[in-house]
């Protein structure tokens, strides 16, 4: 884990959003989230009202991490796709570009097969955007360089 900080800028953020919006429509999904593997929410589209998105992001990351640990125990690298079936809603989680998790929530208006197909298509496009974001982050280390001790102190006033 010696990667630097990930810095997400406006153009990449917008690119992520537009891919998520297309996925939402194409897969007839209810909500789509993009989360980093540490559990931070990057972007969401669809009807996310009523969802605690912060908790969701953290648990999705915990879920991928735990099954990844299981995978290692049987000699697999990770389980890159997880599917949870509920009574009403289902959840599809998949790893994108090694560092991100794509979460799709859908009900019976869609199907696992359709979601899986659309996710596969979206994954390649998300990975391309992520590559740009990572390259930009590396060029930009120390993104908040103007931060002073006084700034930090001000948080605790």
């Amino acid at each position: 884990m010696s990667q630097g900080n990930l810095i997400l800028r406006e153009p990449e953020y917008e690119a992520f959003l537009s891919i998520l919006r297309k996925l939402l429509a194409d897969a007839s999904a209810k909500v789509v989230f993009l989360v980093d593997k540490n559990g931070t929410l990057l972007a969401s589209v669809g009807d996310a009202v009523g969802f605690d998105t912060t908790s969701l992001a953290s648990l999705a990351a915990g879920n991928i991490a735990a099954t990844g640990g299981l995978a290692n125990l049987i000699g697999e690298k990770e389980f890159s796709i997880l599917f949870h079936e509920g009574e009403r809603d289902n959840m599809h989680l998949s790893v994108v570009a090694e560092r991100l998790i794509l979460v799709v929530v859908f009900d019976r208006r869609s199907s696992v097969g359709l979601v899986r197909l659309r996710v596969r298509q979206a994954t390649a496009r998300l990975a391309a955007v992520m590559a740009v974001a990572v390259a930009a982050s590396d060029a930009e280390q120390g993104g908040v360089e103007e931060l002073t001790e006084a700034d930090i102190e001000s948080l605790f006033k």
Binding site: M1, Q3, G39, L42, S55, G69, E145, D151, I152
Partner: protein, 197 residues
Amino acid sequence: MSFINYSSREINCKIVYYGPGLCGKTTNLQFIYKRMNPEARGKMISLATESERTLFFDFLPLSLGEIRGFKTRFHLYTVPGQVFYDASRRLILRGVDGVVFCADSQLTRVDANEESMENLRVNLREQGYDPDRLPLVLQYNKRDLPNVASLAELHALLNRRNVPEYEASATTGIGVFETLKAVIKLVLIDLKRGGRQ
């Protein structure tokens, strides 16, 4: 690895509370949750056993206001301290920006503290971190109990790096916010330096 989102102008950092079983990690988060302004904190999630031992992690998101136009968010996690949950501890350390090592001051827990500190160092190294450089704060918890080790003893056993250290009694909240504030400061200073590579 902190995550900086320029479009929503947010800085996200991950802080992990580490330490032996029953030292009071979950109690720290519960106290922070209780005392924090509801607008500044999200829901606390505890993945625990029926006997309230942490099974996978506790999670508490905080948003502490802005610096230089950036909202600052801190995700607090605890690890499960029981020795046999080591695989879970390693997973939770991924992407960590700063660690609070919570020690149990009771004399009977001296060995458990040392083992847990060593375990932290091993697991950090395994994740590609330098355990001598990652932002770290020590908390000597349960100072309210009788039969506790002296500060000098705890310091000698656990604080080889000479990082900031605080006495605490997490059930009543003594030292809890001092510890949190200290680790947040170290994390932000580290971020300013551009993180460790």
